[in-house]
């Protein structure tokens, strides 16, 4: 298992107008990592669906609140966590609490969440859902194919 290289977290008010802001952030991070256009578009839908669920969940409970979106950046994959609890959370701890992915738990969720969760499962490589005081959606997209090199390579020619 590779170690998380960098972690970015954002917190938005649980309001639909900020879901587009989450998409923009995701676009920036994933294009920086060298994902293809198709992969970025897939992730944009998945992160929006999870954020929409979180916003609606917060709305239904009529307590306003915030949605936390975490991006775990790895060499070869991006882990995205969307949580609708107002509290900040420990990314690594939340990840360990999720446990192994089981077919049954997510199918159950599918019935409740409808098309949104179906799309998340279809478009991402790995999806886990944790039900606690709120709902946490944990998803992974592997980076496949050729990497677009966004780094500036500086060749050094040392001539001693």
């Amino acid at each position: 298992m590779s170690e998380v290289m960098d972690y970015i977290e954002m917190k938005i008010p649980a309001k639909p107008e900020y879901i587009g802001v989450v998409r923009l952030t995701l676009s920036g991070i994933s294009s920086r990592m060298g994902y293809t256009y198709e992969e970025i578009e897939d992730m944009k839908i998945a992160v929006s669906e999870a954020s929409t669920n979180a916003v609606q969940h917060a709305y239904n409970k009529d307590e306003g609140g915030e949605v936390i979106v975490g991006f775990g950046i790895y060499e070869d994959k991006l882990e995205i966590v969307v949580a609708d609890s107002g509290r900040s959370f420990n990314f690594l701890q939340t990840k360990s609490e999720l446990g192994p992915y089981t077919e049954s738990s997510t199918v159950e969720q599918l019935a409740e969440g409808g098309l949104g969760l179906f799309l998340i499962e279809t478009l991402m490589d790995e999806v886990r859902i944790l039900n606690h005081s709120g709902v946490t959606v944990f998803m992974v997209k592997n980076r496949s194919g050729e990497r677009d090199n966004h780094d500036t390579t500086i060749s050094t020619h040392e001539t001693n």
Binding site: P16, E41, L115, F118
Partner: protein
């Protein structure tokens, strides 16, 4: 992060040109604008999606709602000029088998 909705009455029915991003924020606006167009018998609505840069389940929900309302009153719905991304979304959700869609590359309107 916004949506544009332009409606035109043409001989074959109402044509709606939608542009921008359709998500949880803009989908309610779209629903508000286009659902009343489906009121009455034998309505024909064509929605041109060539300028839609983003669509998710909230937008699909609006089209499903519109489709159901039109069908109940012998109307018809056509979605035209979909990008490859939108076609993919309709295909994986199975909606391409239910709603009449056509791709951007086909020139639309078939």
């Amino acid at each position: 992060m916004n949506i544009t909705i332009n409606k035109h009455q043409q001989d074959e029915g109402i044509v709606v040109l939608v542009g921008g991003e359709i998500d949880a924020f803009t989908a309610p606006k779209l629903r508000e604008e286009i659902l009343p167009l489906a009121e009455g018998e034998n309505k024909s609505i064509t929605i041109n999606l060539k300028d839609v840069s983003y669509l998710d389940s909230t937008g699909l929900g609006v089209f499903v709602g519109l489709f159901k309302q039109l069908k109940q009153h012998d109307g018809e719905l056509r979605l035209i000029e979909l990008s490859d991304r939108l076609i993919k979304l309709f295909e994986i959700t199975g909606l391409s088998n239910i709603i009449d869609i056509s791709a951007h590359s086909e020139g639309g309107g078939r």
